[in-house]
Subunit: 442 residues, 2 copies
């Protein structure tokens, strides 16, 4: 992409109401614009990151055997009355009356609706297990939306739902998602720790939150520090017994403040006791027949007897992850994108746009990197060098390739690593080889 | 995908309220389920088609130089009051009051919001032209939703918006989208005809609807029959002058009933006069400063003078296209997907699941086709042949690969072309080669 043809409205000043890094940088880097309190437009740069995160979440869900579908944003209140949640949910639910005076709502979550879909079609254990997910916009009418996409009102969530004949089978589905979440967050460049958590308005008796540690996190968390750097399971057979992956983590202490037990935490060796702040990026629940019971979602077992289907639900905050990744990966100059989600593979800075030699060198590299699948952003604008360096640091592409008249004379590109700040002078061919090598195993 | 692991709730009976083919088949083939009047869940099979269509629409928008972003579904009423559309829009607009009693709405379109975004950031002709689009769910509270996704309330639309300094430049943007639309619909396997159209609630003085001809279309259309089979421009340089592609079409008579001029139509040679019914799948508008004027979206020209930015908007009904394609491509047994949007590249029918030889032959072909990128659907269920044949015809994959014990003995697969009904017996290797060849140029 040529910057002259892109829509990247970078701001010089940090908007006054943005108090945390992700909120500040997303606004300054032209990733988003607020339309109403807690409601944002995703400008091209931000949307590319959001789509990259979504693609990784989707891929890991598919690997775990979940089938993608899409439920609508607007739901009938009737289903929520069946489960009793319509009254329970409180003012965070955006309630709507349509032109025929029917009570509707903007879905904050989908347990009720997916249970209705399930009961419409599935009757027999032969059609189990089922694991369905969608990635859809949700709305929670937060009293005080803040921190940009970290606590917005309209937000993108991946929510999966499992259906099993027995609790034992349901735990297997729960473990699938547990492992898929570990893999998902690792691919996003995050160290996410699963912690025992309160079940809140979803309910149920088994639940883990996945949190990334960051000073700006909304929760206080307590955990065994070995959990932070524990490697993700990676390429596993999701049909195999996954309990050991779960046990390796749940056997170590980890809890959010709501579930914290100081006496238990005290048993963790002193040098392993980690208390920090965390950002919730995922939450999984097993809640048995909490919804299938009142909604009559029953399946016939092999013994011919009907029973309530056993369910769980599994959420990942996709739009929130954009902010979460920035909180975990930035410096005083701007964002530092992990390679897996970066909006562009590298940035090319033309230090003298309009100079024939510099333009030609930049165009050549731009063409070759594009062809190699790197998807570079080429700053071909007329701004002076300082503006270009600052802007490129701010938007956080992993590599910056600087070409000016002097370098052109010597056949040299200055290649800067955004994260380390290290610079090296490489020939054009070396630059192309170096950058493509960085993305070979992505 | 193995059917035993998929969620494909096929219905035996046609639901009584479904009167047109696309509505009937989408319900029967387990593509969707109605949640409320005009509001649907997209089940896995339907969602895959929707995503395939979306990907083609996106690709052609990108080729035409449009930048993707995403605006939220929920908008503040304030913007619509600025343009005067809040009162004009009538009961089709879903109006919402949030917990702080602010007037909000579920966006039926985004001219007002994109103009607000534009005026927040762009001040100079140097930053023009801009061409931005998003693919987002919209809501129109239809009084009587019907025909499934063809006239639903919550629907997926691609809407693009162009910003130019002058009308002359704006027409170039209009032409870009005109050509992109021709290419988009051609890739979807559709013959879409651009017609002069009424501008309705969007407004403006230049507008074309793109319609596909189908007996179930909601509009009566009149056109020169040469337009129907005119080849799409294909791989063009979108920076070049595109007027000739537009003129080649607009010089021939084509109008919807609202804009029909019988006297003009009479001048079309008699054997070329086509009157038919059509389904609107795209609509493009040039409306100048209809929104930029009242909203004060001005840009500075090279002469230092400010003027209202000149705008257009360009819509494609993405979810409606799923229905539109089915209306254009089905028979009495079910859907016939074009290869470009088919949810799976081919279906494998195991005629004797549980038989070692048949299972092994199916598994082998399934593995090889998957590896070749064909994304096959493997019917590994225990149902009898008739059920499997009927289901596979219904869901409409372009090719069916039938393997039974007899074929296994002879090393033969029966390959059926869903569209022509032709069957041929091929060896396993020939089958693999044949199917991959069909998708080579996709």
């Amino acid at each position: 992409m040529r910057l002259s043809r892109y829509f990247l409205p970078v701001l010089k000043e940090t908007p006054a109401d943005a108090t945390i890094a992700s909120h500040q940088y997303m606004l300054r880097a032209g990733m988003m614009k607020q339309n109403s309190a807690g409601i944002y437009s995703w400008l091209p740069l931000g949307y590319k990151v959001l789509k990259n995160i979504e693609a990784i979440v989707r891929d890991e869900q598919n690997k775990a055997g979940a089938n993608e579908m899409l439920m609508p944003t607007i739901q009938s209140a009737d289903l929520w009355k069946e489960t009793g949640r319509y009254d329970d949910y409180g003012p965070e639910m955006l309630r709507i009356t349509d032109r025929h005076e029917r009570e509707m709502l903007y879905g904050p979550t989908n347990e009720d609706m997916i249970t209705d879909i399930f009961r419409s079609f599935v009757r027999s254990y032969k059609d189990l297990p089922q694991l369905l997910y969608h990635i859809q916009w949700k709305f929670r009418d937060e009293r005080r939306p803040r921190f940009g996409v970290m606590r917005g009102r309209e937000f993108l969530m991946k929510d999966a739902y499992s259906f099993d004949l027995t609790k034992e089978d349901a735990v297997k589905s729960y473990n699938r998602m547990f492992v898929a979440y570990l893999n998902t967050f690792a691919r996003l460049g995050l160290k996410a720790v699963p912690m025992r958590a309160d079940t809140g308005p979803i309910g149920g008796d088994l639940s883990h939150e996945f949190l990334i540690l960051a000073d700006t996190g909304e929760s206080e968390v307590f955990c065994h520090s070995d959990l932070v750097d524990m490697a993700a399971p990676g390429d596993v057979d999701y049909d195999s017994d996954l309990q050991s992956f779960v046990d390796a983590r749940t056997s170590l202490y980890a809890a959010t403040d709501e579930m914290h037990e100081p006496d238990e935490f005290a048993k963790v060796p002193g040098d392993k006791q980690l208390s920090a702040r965390g950002i919730e990026v995922g939450h999984i629940f097993y809640f048995g027949d909490k919804y299938s019971g009142p909604m009559g979602a029953k399946v016939m077992g092999s013994d011919g007897k009907e029973s309530n289907v056993m369910m769980g639900s599994y959420g990942i905050g996709v739009s929130r992850l954009v902010g979460g990744i920035i909180e975990a990966s930035h410096d005083e100059n701007g964002i530092i994108w992990p390679k897996s989600v970066t909006p562009f593979g590298a940035g090319i800075i033309n230090l003298k746009a309009g100079d024939d030699g510099t333009d030609a060198a930049c165009e050549d590299l731009y063409g070759k990197l594009s062809k190699a699948g790197i998807d570079p952003l080429y700053d071909d604008k007329a701004d002076r060098g300082g503006v270009k360096f600052g802007r490129m640091d701010l938007i956080g592409l992993p590599y910056q390739l600087v070409i000016g008249p002097r370098g052109v004379k010597d056949g040299i590109v200055e290649v800067k690593d955004r994260k380390t700040g290290e610079k090296q002078n490489l020939s054009y061919d070396e630059t192309l080889n170096y950058i493509t090598a960085q993305y070979r195993d992505k």
